[in-house]
């Protein structure tokens, strides 16, 4: 009985197996890249807000401390968005007729809250706590970037678990003295390469086993 396929077809079958592998790998790669991309993570995407609030102006320009508005950052899991009243502390005196601030004035006048869009939005099964991070010497800029240079707020880190766990495995490089936590421009001092190690001990930061236990963030 003669063969059904001519022997030259062998090359085609080999090629198609190879092509299938390459295609699957490419598809996987594309999905993976898409997963990591800003499209999925919202990384580096400025977000439209009801008021075009500029951190660059308020923090960079005016030098207002983070905690003037985000009052609960040292006590609570949640670093709050300030109530309208906080805006009006100044803006009842300054720029009282600026059209851009009309939503703020309207909110204060009508007692209707502003609806801000979340920029840093973790999934609901992740329980991040601001207060402990600032207490242990993780600076605002470490995760949020140079907010003082952001005219419109965006998410600088990708906020994926990999990014969280990298630091939880080895927090030392991301630590700074407590009094520098709210300093946007702080740079690690060149003369003390072991600063992180020293702060790990000084601030009694737990080892990676505890910091990477699932229930540290998920419950």
């Amino acid at each position: 009985m003669s063969q059904i396929f001519h022997r030259t077809t062998n090359i085609y079958s080999r090629l198609s197996i190879l092509a299938a592998i390459v295609l699957a790998a490419t598809l996987g790669g594309v999905v993976g890249l898409l997963h990591l991309s800003g499209y999925n993570t919202n990384q580096n995407m400025p977000v439209e807000q009801p008021v075009q609030f500029s951190h660059a102006h308020h923090v960079g320009g005016e030098g207002i401390d983070c905690r003037y508005c985000h009052t609960s950052v040292e006590e609570s899991a949640f670093a709050n968005i300030p109530p309208t009243k906080t805006c009006m502390n100044c803006h009842s005196q300054l720029w009282t007729t600026a059209p851009i601030l009309e939503p703020v004035r309207a909110s204060f006048r009508d007692n209707k809250p502003l609806h801000w869009t979340r920029v840093h939005d973790l999934p609901d099964f992740v329980y991040f706590n601001h207060s402990i991070h600032v207490r242990k010497g993780v600076g605002c800029a470490t995760c949020h970037g140079r907010v003082d240079k952001m005219p419109l707020m965006y998410q600088q880190a990708n906020l994926q678990m990999n990014w969280c766990v990298n630091c939880h495995r080895n927090p030392a490089p991301n630590l700074r003295p407590r009094d520098q936590v709210y300093n946007m421009a702080w740079e690690p001092p060149a003369n003390e390469p072991d600063l992180g190690e020293r702060l790990m001990k000084e601030y009694k930061i737990a080892g990676p086993e505890q910091l990477t236990s699932c229930s540290t963030c998920h419950r």
Binding site: A77, P82, P83, P113, R118, F125, S215, H218
Partner: protein
């Protein structure tokens, strides 16, 4: 079946503990059930669920098509305050002291509020009635607040009306009635302990002198009230179990029923707990007519007919030398009989503990039994030590049955023009059947119903006014010890609710006052009135009213208003309120009824002088008047979870396995196994109960230890208009015990006939779920055995050496969490289960799913019997089972996606977002504590439930395994708080939800690396053991064995070493 049981019991070495009669008999069906991890077809979708199921399948297929995992996170908003309230830190809860009234009596609480949403109720640790604990009903009140089926609008004949229209209708009714002095005006409410409400009522009754106020609560102790009032002011008993070494109950379920049960549980457990310092425990004898949790805790339990309890009490009084009124004695006076032996032993024990013993009359027993108990306590010198008598905490103690009867007669005679029913009483459902309340209600011209639901009564009334939930309203009420406790709102009324006092105030001279104004006005005047000075906790008088009020709202109660401090007797404690039917006339009225029915008249109670023993009984029990002897005895009880039906629409309580039987979602009629055998009945067989011309149907349940010639039925089922959760199906509407209750015998009576109908009603019973196949899960010893040889507990099981592992020992640095559960203290009340449900967002699954073994409770309370099923003295034990957090956890090894892993502090972490639902972990868990979301149990659709959920715990979806985490959210919060203050977590700083709620302090959680922590000390006790330790799982949750303190005269040591027969 019987012979196989007998041979099993005879052939076993040591004691046998069994969960159900099925397990005891070891039937093939039971083994089949047990050996399947999940019941047959549990994971198949063949239930006839119709459209909903089809949609679910469709959406699941879509998800499987590959779209599910690739969703992008939706954009979310942050909505800050315009002006942020002071003291509020966004993201952190606030706690407010308040009270949840139950039948008028305050249950003091602390309510957790997240950004204005109340999410969890805890007991108020500073209040003497709570000391931090609550009961199941108070825990479940949070679901009652958010219940989507609550009445949502004021209606007149079904049409929605504004409050203003109702208000003017009341004003015009009031002005019409004024001309007649209010002769056609009637009020019906539950008992009132609130001083401010009582004052409003008094002022209404002053405006309308002919108007009458009636009180009715279907579950109320008329017997206790009548006996107390016969003593004059100061007849209400408050017990002090912390001083009682010997306790005898005469059909009293003091551990779970009654307003003081939370505190009583605490005192009772503390006085019985063996610690390193304390080596003595109290002894409890329970005489009871139906199995109760109190009987299950007793060292000796004697079951008898409810009608025989009085005779037993009379003989006991005689035996201890207390003056007892003449009357029928219980059957056996022969000292050689069982009862004779008991009487002698109890009397001897009581007399050996004069001043340190206590006799308690059951709340469902007639006045004569209460009088007897008081007489015995006086003779034994217990008054002032283990029991104190004081004035009633109620504004106007009234015989409720007589009061309602009086109202119905007036309604029938056409004398009632306006009837205002306050506080969601629902008499159409719960009034005695012979009164025909629904029929008589039609003769009332203007009926106003005020309640949380549009229930059976509301739908027959013209005006419906939604009640405000206690978490939405201002008010005051007294706790069982008399302390005035303030209710303050946590949230604005969700559905235009108005509290009872606001509705009542429409008929006063200041008709448009809100609850806050009424309350504050009352206490402003009360504060100003001398000579009674309200003092703060440190004994200093307050500077001014504002200081007093701030302190009161902060603490939640007013110091110095307890009965012991003379609270109710002080001028503003309770205003003098004329009761509609004073109790003496009520008793007389009842007697007239009995005389008419051909019963023997009872002697008139002469007024009793204080400090002398009561000279005579008050009245013969109405039950004795029934004439028709023979047949079975019928016993009524409130349902342990839905009570008289007021919690019918609460899914948490419906799904809570009822203590002792573990039946969920259904009413059952309890019979003894012998009676079931005689009549050829099996669990779930529907019987027809015929009693005094009335009939009801109910599925039966065999309960070991039930008196043989009695049947116990429970109120609260067969509801027609309870709401979507509580409505009975058409066939189950006959499961209503109120259909049998008559006004002359509210709690028990003879002459019951039962007949098998041939129908079967499937019951969802969790008793046989998650059984551990009798590997010594509970361990028991008597106190004498334990003192002699403490190793007796350890010897009942096998603990492998710690070297029995291939892996190196892991050293837990820092915290090492562990739990000790004292099953000797656990009463089986199941408050822990409800607390866990509330804390951890656990869904309700429904009856069909429970029947499939899919209930989701993270902590279950296993119930074990010991002894012979036919023995009235069958022992019962309770064992709460949360996750054991094994150090060598079998579940962790088999998870293919590492969704369950071990934390550095020894917790078995469960990562919901990683779980793919293989269920291998559950299969491999020897304790069966893992729960799988087979379907989408969590209610994602009902908006009103969103604010109820705990924001600190993930809400789980379909296809995810879940389990107890030792409340890791609380551990994490405490750890973060401690680290922020550069210190370690203190012992007692983290309380798990089950620990916090437990009224008997049976659950203790803490750090095992701290040798001084409470849990470490408990685990050092010799009675500490782990369940299934032989598997080398090294459970972190361990148990403290039950110690019993039997009277050697009733239970010789020799016969105890082998199995009892």
């Amino acid at each position: 079946m019987s012979s196989s049981i007998k041979s099993r019991l005879a052939g076993s070495h040591g004691r046998v503990y069994w969960r159900s009669l099925g397990e005891l008999a070891d039937t093939p069906e039971f083994r089949e059930y047990l050996h399947r991890e999940f019941p047959e077809q549990a994971s198949e979708w063949n239930d006839p669920k119709g459209r909903r199921q089809f949609l679910k399948l469709m959406s699941a297929s879509l998800a499987l098509a590959g779209v599910g995992a690739c969703t992008k996170q939706p954009t979310e908003e942050i909505v800050p305050y315009v002006r942020q309230p002071e003291d509020l830190v966004p993201g952190r809860p606030l706690f407010f002291a308040s009270a949840i009234p139950f039948s008028g009596v305050a249950h003091p609480v602390l309510v957790e509020s997240h950004m204005g949403h109340p999410t969890k109720i805890e007991g108020n640790p500073e209040h003497q009635a709570s000391l931090g604990a609550t009961d199941t009903f108070t825990q479940a009140a949070i679901l009652g607040l958010y219940d989507p089926d609550r009445a949502r609008a004021i209606t007149n004949r079904g049409e929605i009306k504004p409050w203003g229209l109702f208000f003017s209708a009341m004003l015009s009714a009031g002005s019409q009635q004024k001309g007649r002095q209010g002769a056609g005006l009637r009020f019906l409410s539950g008992p009132i302990t609130s001083p401010s409400m009582a004052e409003v009522m008094a002022s209404v009754l002053a405006t309308f002198p002919q108007a009458k106020w009636h009180q009715y609560d279907p579950i109320s102790s008329d017997g206790a009230r009548a006996a107390a009032l016969a003593e004059g002011a100061g007849g209400d008993a408050i017990y002090h179990f912390d001083k009682a070494d010997v306790v005898v109950t005469l059909d009293a379920d003091f551990l779970t029923c009654g307003p003081g049960s939370v505190r009583y549980q605490k005192d009772f457990a503390t006085h019985r707990r063996i610690t390193e310092e304390r080596k003595e425990m109290s002894r409890l004898y329970a005489i009871e007519s139906t199995p109760t949790l109190t009987g299950a805790k007793a060292d000796h339990r004697l079951a008898m007919k409810a009608s025989e309890v009085e005779g037993f009490g009379r003989q006991l009084a005689g035996a201890v030398g207390a003056p007892a009124p003449a009357g029928p004695a219980s059957g056996a006076t022969d000292p050689a009989s069982v009862i004779g032996k008991w009487l002698a032993a109890i009397a001897k024990d009581l007399q050996a503990h004069r001043g340190r013993s206590l006799v308690i009359a059951g709340q469902y027993q007639p006045a004569s039994v209460h009088t007897l108990a008081r007489s015995i306590n006086q003779a034994l010198g217990n008054v002032g030590s283990t029991v104190t008598y004081g004035p009633s905490i109620e504004a106007a103690p009234t015989d409720h049955t007589a009061s309602l009867t009086d109202l119905v007669r007036a309604m029938d005679a056409g004398q009632v023009d306006v009837l205002v029913m306050l506080g969601g009483l629902n008499p159409v459902y719960s009034a005695p059947v012979d009164l025909k309340f629904a029929e008589k209600l039609k003769k009332v011209n203007l009926s106003v119903y005020h309640g949380l639901y549009v229930d059976e009564t509301a739908s027959l009334c013209q005006w419906n006014v939604p009640d405000a939930h206690p978490l939405e309203s201002w008010g005051d009420s007294r706790s069982f010890d008399g302390t005035v406790t303030i209710t303050q709102p946590l949230i604005a009324p969700l559905y235009d609710g108005h509290s009872a006092v606001e509705v009542l105030a429409t008929l006063t001279s200041q008709p448009d006052r809100r609850g806050h104004v009424i309350l504050k006005d009352y206490w402003t005047r009360a504060f100003a009135v001398g000579p009674w000075t309200i003092r703060s906790g440190d004994g200093q008088p307050f500077k001014n009213f504002d200081a007093f009020w701030r302190r009161t709202l902060h603490d939640g109660f007013i110091n110095g208003t307890a009965v012991a401090d003379g609270g109710p007797a002080t001028p503003f404690g309770v205003m003098a309120v004329p009761a509609a039917v004073p109790i003496t006339t009520a008793v007389a009225g009842m007697r007239a009824d009995q005389a008419a029915a051909g019963a023997a008249p009872a002697p008139q109670p002469p007024p009793a002088a204080p400090a002398t023993p009561p000279p005579a009984t008050t009245t013969a029990p109405p039950q004795a008047a029934t004439g028709a002897q023979g047949g079975l005895e019928l016993i009524f009880r409130p349902d342990p979870t839905v009570w008289d039906g007021r919690f019918s629409n609460n899914g948490w309580l419906q799904e809570l396995p009822k203590p002792l039987t573990k039946v969920t979602w259904d009413a059952t009629a309890w019979v003894s196994p012998q009676l079931a055998r005689e009549r050829g009945l099996e669990d779930g067989d529907v019987i027809e109960l015929r009693y005094r011309g009335n009939a009801a149907r109910m599925p039966i349940f065999r309960v070991p230890g039930h008196p043989q010639q009695s049947v116990t039925v429970f109120f609260g089922y067969g509801r027609q208009k309870a709401g979507n959760v509580g409505n009975a199906t058409t066939s189950a509407q006959a499961f209503n015990a109120f259909l049998l209750r008559t006004s002359d015998a509210p709690w028990f009576g003879s002459g019951l006939e039962i007949a098998k109908t041939g129908e079967r009603h499937p019951l969802a019973v969790t008793q046989e779920h998650h059984v551990m196949e009798g590997r010594a899960p509970v361990r028991v010893a008597t106190i004498e055995e334990y003192k002699k040889e403490p190793k007796i507990i350890a010897e009942q099981g096998e603990t492998p050496p710690r070297t029995l592992t291939m892996y190196p020992e892991y050293k837990y640095e820092g915290y090492k969490w562990g739990m000790a559960i004292d099953i000797g203290s656990c009463t089986g009340c199941s408050a822990c289960t409800i607390a866990c449900v509330a804390e951890n967002n656990i869904p309700i699954v429904g009856k069909e799913e429970v029947a499939s073994g899919r209930e989701m409770h993270w902590i279950r309370v296993d119930h074990y019997f010991a002894g012979n099923e036919d023995d009235n003295a069958v022992e019962a034990y309770h064992q709460p089972v949360p996750c054991m957090q094994c150090e060598n956890a079998p579940c962790e090894l088999v998870c293919p996606v590492a969704a369950t892993t071990h934390s550095s502090e020894g917790l078995n972490d469960m990562v919901y977002n990683r779980c793919v639902g293989t269920r291998y972990c559950s299969n491999n868990c020897p304790y069966k504590v893992r729960r799988f979301n087979f379907l989408l149990y969590q209610d994602w659709d009902t908006q009103s439930l969103y604010p109820m959920r705990n924001p600190d715990v993930s809400v789980r979806s379909r296809g995810v395994m879940e389990k107890c985490t030792y409340c890791v959210q609380r551990i994490n919060q405490a750890r973060i708080d401690a680290k922020r203050e550069d210190r370690d977590i203190r012992d007692g700083e983290v309380l798990t939800a089950c620990q916090q709620v437990c009224p008997s302090d049976a659950i203790v959680f803490g750090n095992l690396n701290d040798p001084n922590s409470q849990v470490s000390k408990l685990k050092l006790q010799e009675r500490n053991y782990g369940v299934l330790e032989s598997l080398n799982t090294r459970p972190r949750t361990t148990y403290l064995a039950v110690l019993r303190n039997p009277n050697p005269e009733l239970e010789p040591q020799a016969s105890r070493s082998t199995t009892e027969h």
